[in-house]
């Protein structure tokens, strides 16, 4: 099995986060093992940027990623939705490939 979709992981600065952003990112990566690989957002081959924001202000600077597909999450529910969405995408891709 390959490493999966390369997702560029971008955090906000974490001045006053409402939850543990790093723990959530780790949980997402573990839940999507084999389907996604988190890499530095500026790395080659990134298909998607995942912005993990500490609160709904969502102030991470995403200007460098203009034109790219970006997902923004700012709470644990957002993380769960992201996991679900990626799983659905991967399954849909697999079904079409049959």
């Amino acid at each position: 099995m390959g490493e999966g979709i390369r997702v560029g992981l971008k955090y906000c600065g974490g001045c006053n986060p409402e939850y543990d952003r790093v723990a959530l990112a780790r949980h997402i990566e573990e839940s999507l093992q084999g389907k996604v690989a988190f890499v530095k957002p500026e790395r080659e081959g990134v298909r998607l940027i995942l912005a993990v924001e500490g609160c709904s202000t969502a102030c991470a600077d995403l200007n460098a990623f203009q034109g790219m597909e970006i997902r923004v999450i700012y709470n644990i529910d957002g993380g769960k939705r992201f996991i679900k969405e990626i799983r659905a995408q991967v399954e849909s891709f697999a079904d079409h490939g049959k």
């Binding site: 600065g13 974490g14 001045c15 006053n16 530095k40």
Partner: protein
Amino acid sequence: MTMMTAEQYEESLRRLNLVVYMFGKRVENVVDDPIIRPSMNAVAKTYELAHSPEHEDIMTATSHITGTRINRFTHIHQSIEDLVKKSKMGRLLGRETGCCFQRCVGMDALNALSIVTFDIDAKHGTEYYKRFMQYLEYVQEKDFTVDGAMTDPKGDRSLPPHKQPDPDQFMHVVEEKKDGIVVRGAKAHQTGAVNSHEIIIMPTLAMRQEDKDYAISFALPSDAEGITYIMGRQSCDTRKLEGGTMDQGNLLFGGHEALVVFDDVFVPWDRVFMFKEYEFSRQLVEQFAAYHRQSYACKVGVGDVLIGAAQTAAEYNGVEKASHVRDKIVEMNHLNETLYCGCIACASEGHKEPSGTYCVNILLANVHKHNVTRFPYEISRLAQDIAGGLMVTLPSEKDLQSPETAKWLTKYFKAHHDIPTEHRMHILRLIENLTLGTAATNYLTESMHGAGSPQAQRIMISRRINMQEKQRAAKKLCGIEE
């Protein structure tokens, strides 16, 4: 090099040859001295977090000179977003260290000089801005910690600099040479002075023509010949010499202040950013002060730590559900978040100066700092109320370890059945540290007098309020026509 790591920062300090005195003796190894070391750790945190993916978004910025990624502490604010991120960075680092991390004052000096040197050149056709930009690029490239030094000893407060019986009470020029100037004087209360690579000097108040020899600004390496540092004491400072892991409260971080003496120090012209242009000294003081008053965003982060400690102490004591305790915790949060409102507001309402630098809203920055002179005291009072008297009557860690007394301390200082006595003692020591120990130097008295005492903010508030507009609004509503 663009951004140093914490380890590189520490090594860079070891290469400095600072003349530091403490307890009447020369400090030969500044970096490893147990009294000073926690303050170095706090500055090192500003380097460490800049390399952390989960913090780099506010800890770093893009240099407007070179386009490279730099530590935000060497950055010149290029937008409102930069100003807001500066406030957020203060809260983050205050919470991560529980103390003053010392590096904001240099950032504030750099930003103020980026505005004022430009404005002096516009009026006088001088080349200060060009010199300053070359210096700034050097600071950014080296990722230096810079001490911004404004406060002169001031002597007799009723007299201007030129009338002081001792002219050295204010930093001044004693000799003008072909290749530079010679200066003499001192700067007091210098936070983080011996953890800095560079020191920037600014005048301490608005100067008149008669005081033009005192209207000077310049930068020097912190170990330039003729500079001497005399460390200030902090309440409970020698607990750091006792060893152990409890009685100093904050085990990792702290702050420091020093008196910095300039005994006929030579400054080359390329490091001089103001030379007798006395009419710009007020602007430099006011804009530096406004930036630095914004910087008290850090106290919100330290407040986060104290609130967290008070809640923990309440839980350890088994009183966290009592309605009056819950109400006190709400009040502490209300005060702390009110402080946060001020530092975000003065940033959000900032503006662009002719040099291109963004400056905070000066009125709101002063209002913010004025709140800081009060609220941490009330937050501390509430924390002490919740913690209980044991916070100041607790025996030492050594008594907890002694075979003769350990069983009694463990037995009689046990509160909640699930919580080890040792944990209860740790959290009480942290509250002690923040409200009357070494960290109270920064959380309380620095909140009062740092970046200007309360009256300085009241003067600025009175100057900046648009009273005519308030009166117009009132008169219009009640039918007064003039």
